[in-house]
Amino acid sequence: MRSIFLIVFLSLALPVSSAWSADATVRMWAANCQVCHGPQGKSQGAIPSINVLTPEQIKTAIADYASDKRHSTIMGTIARGFAPDRVAAIAEFLGKK
């Protein structure tokens, strides 16, 4: 019985495509946005929804917050914490398709 468990596990432990990990990483980064902007980026209340923005609009907004071109309460600080390549990946994941 024990050996059956082992074999079953070993088959699951086979490395799958490397894209899997990249996908999980981008989702993990994007999950940092969803804590305030809501599940799937759909917010209730005063915080804006971000699921209605295109990836391009998200990238522009984050760049403008990071440079303080666009005034914010906390988004300037948050935006400066994410490197542009990460912002681009998050924007593709969260933005309106």
């Binding site: 468990f5 070993l10 699951l12 490395p15 940092n32 599940p39 209340g45 906390i74 914490g81």
Partner: protein, 423 residues
């Protein structure tokens, strides 16, 4: 990946492993279906981890173990104390997680068989796991005249939202106008660093409205506290001299509390309170002791890149109980750490190297119902510390419109994080 492709790979791998005669260097997965993750603790951290694993990898079997059917959030419990929202608004249930495919078991974890990778429950049931995630929350280091019994009946800490929060609410309403509320914050580190000062603020909101001749005295063992300048600015603006803060240099560090007379003694003076809320020094929740996850410094040491316990292999510790140098013990950190941990666990179960967890803190406090303030930060884990990528705090001397905006954002944050965790 479809179930068909998993089955195909299982078959081919079965042949390979048999041929190679491979044995047990890999973790065991029970009952031959899918990887099993058990999460213990249904607060901000645990409930988030359970849901996120299911979102990332629907094939993984996720079970959440939580004794209570209803969770009451500490965030916004100060608004309840102020009479700004009813008790029921702090309640969260587990139906949303069940709908998301998480198996919810209302039971208490009592022990661990680390070798057999099995969690023992109070009911006698055992749950096998491939990875265990534990979110023990906090417990208290009693002393200075305060015991668990005294906290429950006379001097509430109300630092886990529950009956003590309701007791404090009742005591505030029973107090005569002109009375003194004494609030004793804990020493560092503790759950929600600005929380005691938000509590002072919102109790003052209540007093100003209903018992305007009353005072609120903060007797603090710390010389500095979170968002100090912002709180002091707001207190002067909204409450005049109603709130007085004494730190250790002002003779304010509490030494002893007499629960019968409600006198709080410091090295220099005795202070008579009518209502006293004393928040004791803290440590990882009792669950951390049952599962042997805590060290002599009161918290649970973990590998910062994986949140795996330094004391128990295949067990991850998240939430306020985890020792995460550089990060505050806030609900948002609990949520983003849990998401990082979910990504790590899913990667490890797929035999992949996880990316370093990236976490965010957005910590709102209300100085008054229309006056919000924040601290914000973004971090990335390294082996030794959570490295700050950016940090910020609300500026001083901002117009009322800015404070109003942050108060509105605070309420929206609460709704959204609760939907993200339990919804």
């Amino acid at each position: 990946m479809t179930s068909k492709s998993i089955n195909a790979s299982r078959r081919s791998f079965l042949a390979t492993t048999t041929a190679l005669g491979l044995t047990a260097t890999f973790p065991l997965i029970g009952c031959g279906q899918s990887a099993r993750v058990v999460v213990v603790g249904g607060g901000f951290a645990g409930a988030t981890a359970a849901r996120q694993i299911k979102l990332l990898a629907p094939d993984i079997d996720v079970t959440l173990v939580e004794p209570n059917k209803t969770y009451r959030t500490c965030p916004f419990s100060n608004s309840y104390l102020a009479g700004l929202q009813p008790w029921e608004t702090l309640a969260q249930g587990y139906g949303g997680l069940a709908k998301a495919g998480v198996g919810v078991v209302h039971d208490r974890a009592v022990g661990l068989d680390a070798k057999g990778r099995t969690l023992k429950l109070a009911s006698g049931t055992s749950l096998p796991y491939d990875r265990l995630i534990v979110a023990p929350g906090i417990d208290f280091r009693w002393g200075k005249g305060i015991t668990a019994d005294i906290a429950e009946t006379a001097i509430p800490h109300a630092w886990k939202a529950g009956p003590q929060t309701q007791l404090l609410h009742k005591q505030l309403r029973a107090m005569d106008d002109g009375g003194t509320v004494i609030l004793c914050p804990p020493p560092n580190p503790f759950r929600c660093p600005p929380g005691p000062y938000e509590r002072a603020s919102l109790i003052a909101t209540f007093l100003k409205r209903e018992k305007p001749r009353s005072k609120l005295l903060i007797l603090d063992p710390k010389a500095k506290f979170s968002k100090q300048a912002l709180f002091k600015e707001g207190w002067a603006q909204h409450y005049g001299d109603m709130i007085e803060w004494l730190g250790p240099d002002d003779g304010g560090a509490p030494v002893e509390v007499d629960p019968k007379t409600r006198v709080v003694s410091t090295d220099f003076e005795d202070f008579q309170g009518d209502v006293v809320t004393f928040i004791p020094a803290q440590k990882a929740g009792a669950l951390a002791d049952s599962l042997d996850l805590r060290d002599e410094y009161f918290w649970c040491p973990v590998n910062l890149l994986t949140f795996e316990s330094k004391r128990q292999p295949f067990v991850h510790v998240i939430g306020d109980a985890a020792e995460l140098p550089g990060m505050p013990k806030s609900a948002t950190v609990a949520n983003t750490v849990a998401k990082g941990c979910a990504a790590v666990v899913v990667a490890l179960l797929n035999d992949q190297k996880p990316a370093p967890p990236m976490t965010t803190n957005t910590c709102y406090s209300l100085v008054a119902p229309n006056h919000g303030i924040t601290t914000t930060g973004v971090w990335e884990a390294t082996e030794t510390v959570f490295h700050p990528l950016s940090k910020g705090i609300s500026p001083l001397d901002r117009p009322a419109s800015h404070r109003q905006k942050e108060a509105d954002y605070a309420r929206s944050w609460y709704t959204n994080i609760c939907a993200d965790v339990w919804g």
